[in-house]
Symmetry: C2
Subunit: 475 residues, 2 copies
């Protein structure tokens, strides 16, 4: 039992934690490892890792089998995950009924960042980790990133470093612990524990790990394909405090953001009440079906893909890696057809930043609906669907360089399940041509409202959380 | 769209609401209708209502049918609810696998209290309402208590009074709005919107309705079988403020309760972190099966019951009522075999009250686990089960009169689905013989922690919420 019910830790109170985390978010110069040196180390890691990913026929993946009756892809252990078919019906999407392959992974894994104070500043123990689906092999991951099958060592590989801080009896202090969902378009009900744990004793730094401040991580978010999705997800649930001078900060984007963090919502249950209303009115019916039975999808030796060429394909890979618990393995991955756009539209009202979110129902959403970014789409998926073009608000994101764009980077989705899955993450202020009337299911929220909801699971989807982390980095 | 996304109400801020609700909770003498007069009115209502409930064969309920293939009980409209069979498997109950009848009601209904200020004090519009399963026919219900089938008038009855304040375009201010679960032992995933809405204009008081302060409602909670479960559930989600003098209140139960409301949790994510850990480690598998197929249950003309005589029976009733939208109808109800015990054990630590909760997995729980009271059981159900006696902590509740008992009343569960379902609601301080080590899945929480979680759905089960309302009434 890692969290005995009757233990109350009294070293630091919650307000104290928020202050210490905010100090780390502001710290770049006080970092133990200067950012230049981090980049050198990271590049060197990339050079030294032996890593090879080869496409392989999906019916001949070592350790996996295709169920002859259903066509489902399953691990021989019955663990890890499977790829099955899902029939979906909901009145709340452009298409009301469809069928698709879906990853079924009922296990709850751990995404954990271990933190420790050095020189009065909290540092995060980050890991340079290869993933078979990463475009660039190596990205910066949390201290621990493990499914239950991993950490109970179904693969009979090496033990997972630092796991004992998150799931053991070791002396450590939980600062953040919440269950958060992952991509509802690809996973059925998948979620992970997002944790931040403070080490109270010495922590040996193992090969491939590095201490960075939150301020350094925030700066690294601006780089393409560097901070891994799991790291972004954990970063999004870390409490953020507005600088003390927020109330009187200049009326620019950053000042408005700081005030939005501190702002008392202007009415009692604004976003929460609206979200409850939307959830209570929507319905979502799902049924797992044989992967071979879903209409519109075609099975070939090396892929299962949609006959339109849109959406994604299920592919197989053989992997060799020098830095993982097992040196080689095979697995299926989902390969999106195109790059997507995840956009957060913002506005300033009376000097306070507001963020546009949408209540989104996806194939694998656990509880009908979650909050998604203002824009979440792969534009090409909408081409020619009943003559409809890309979702309306996509046009609100400036396509070229524009002073209204406050954040713009390419990030990858989790390379353990997705192959070369990139999204453009963009945060922009809306222009004068923004429609007066919001589309159905959209609402303006303050950053404080989002920060309060993200403490709990199944409010913000992973796309919204990752953008929230990017938004926090602009403080 | 009852809550347009772009509307921000600025009349009262949230802090202001909490203050006004706390003022109402302290108000008894300033009430518009003195409590004596309320009792007279309520008794008179009971005398004037014509109300008759007769047991009827379950296969011959007007408007209902037994599916010949499955034995499931269904409404002819396909709406309202059905009674089906459920197979359950979880490692986290005394019995790991079982099958039982379950009520399937996927619709989200509304439990709403309309409030309005009179003489500077918020009053709640309460309804004297008959329910077929109530032991005493009439109880005090929220302003609106309606399934979606009710309020979309599947029964072709009269319109539901005051519904427009909760689900319409009418001028009203939402103070509280949250989706909350109901009995997981009897319902599959059932939940309702729990709402408090402030009327901004005149409200005509219809026959059978009465304005009461929260202070009056709190006092009425001490009476047996008066405040209906749905009213208790809505009351539990109303924000509560500690009196300003709480910090220096005497070190008695009430002072400790006030400090527990205001107490900053002693570590960052205490209860939430613990609950996340428990949830991530538990599993719950369910499968709907034909009602006729479940082992251990016996179907007779007038009931479906467990062969041991324990748990509950499914029965049928014919109802005639003068105060409902339709004057007569038939329906199935669940009739528990015995009265249950819902107990909240408390202790004082450094002058702050702590409450013992357990993480409980029930047949119909939406998301694996919810927080339940320290004690939630029907003692007789445990007799003779593998020689096991009633759950351990039951013995911690004094059976006779005892100064440690702070609250003790009999309350009914919802009379629209349950027949004569009573529980003893008891709040007690633990004695000196309380075990040092808590049973697995139990944790101490401050009242503030519970109040923060109850703003969100699926943390506190309905039994814990009802006891939380009783605890608040002791302020």
């Amino acid at each position: 039992m890692p969290f005995p019910a009757h233990t109350r830790v009294t070293v630091h109170g919650p307000a104290d934690d928020v202050r210490r985390l905010a100090r780390s978010a502001a710290a770049v110069d006080e970092a133990m490892v200067p950012t230049d040196q981090f980049h050198e180390w990271f590049t060197d890691r990339g050079r030294r890792n032996r890593y090879q990913v080869r496409r392989a026929p999906i019916d001949r993946l070592h350790g996996w089998r295709t169920d002859p009756a259903t066509g489902n892809l399953e691990h021989l252990s019955g663990r890890f995950f499977s790829v099955q078919g899902l029939e979906v019906s909901t009145a709340h999407r452009e298409t009301r009924e469809w069928a698709q392959p879906i990853i079924v992974q009922p296990e709850v894994g751990i995404l954990g960042i271990l933190v420790k104070e050095f020189g009065g500043v909290l540092h995060c123990l980050m890991q340079a980790k290869t993933e078979p689906g990463n475009v660039n092999a190596l990205q910066l991951s949390p201290t621990v990133q493990a499914t239950r099958s991993n950490y109970t060592r179904v693969h009979r590989g090496n033990a997972i470093p630092y796991l004992e801080y998150f799931d053991g009896e070791d002396a450590a202090r939980v600062m953040v612990h919440t269950l958060q969902s992952e991509q509802g378009a690809s996973f059925l009900h998948k979620r992970n524990r997002n944790m931040v744990v403070e080490a109270t004793g010495d922590v040996p730094v193992r090969d491939g790990f590095c201490w960075l401040t939150l301020g350094q991580l925030n700066a690294l978010l601006a780089k393409d394909n560097l901070v891994h999705m799991d790291a972004r997800s954990v970063m999004s649930v870390i409490p953020v405090a507005a600088p003390p001078a927020a109330a009187s900060a200049p009326d620019d984007f950053r000042g408005a953001l700081a005030r939005s963090l501190a702002d008392q919502p202007r009415h009692h249950t604004g976003l929460l009440s609206w979200f409850t209303g939307v959830k209570s009115r929507r319905a979502l019916d799902r049924r797992l079906v044989p992967l071979d039975s879903i209409g519109g999808w075609r099975r070939e030796a090396d892929r299962i893909s949609h006959e339109s060429g849109k959406y994604f394909s299920v592919i197989g890979v053989d992997v060799e890696a020098s830095d993982r618990e097992v040196p080689s393995w095979s697995q299926p991955l989902l390969a999106p057809a195109r790059r997507g756009v995840l956009g957060l539209l913002t506005r300033r009202v009376d000097g306070v930043l507001e963020v546009l979110v949408q209540a989104r129902t996806e194939a694998g959403t656990l509880d009908v609906v979650e909050l998604a970014p203002s824009v979440q789409c792969v534009p090409e998926n909408y081409e020619g669907v009943g003559g409809r073009l890309a979702p309306g608000l996509l046009g609100q994101i400036p396509s070229g360089p524009d002073p209204r764009i406050r954040f713009d980077a390419i990030h990858s989705e989790e390379g353990g399940r997705f192959y070369h899955a990139e999204n453009r993450y963009v945060i922009a202020e809306i222009g004068g041509d923004f429609p007066e009337e919001l589309p159905d299911g959209h609402a303006w929220a303050t950053v404080r409202e989002l920060n309060e909801l993200v403490r709990h699971g199944h409010y913000l989807n992973v796309e919204a959380r990752c953008l929230l982390a990017c938004l926090h980095s602009l403080l």
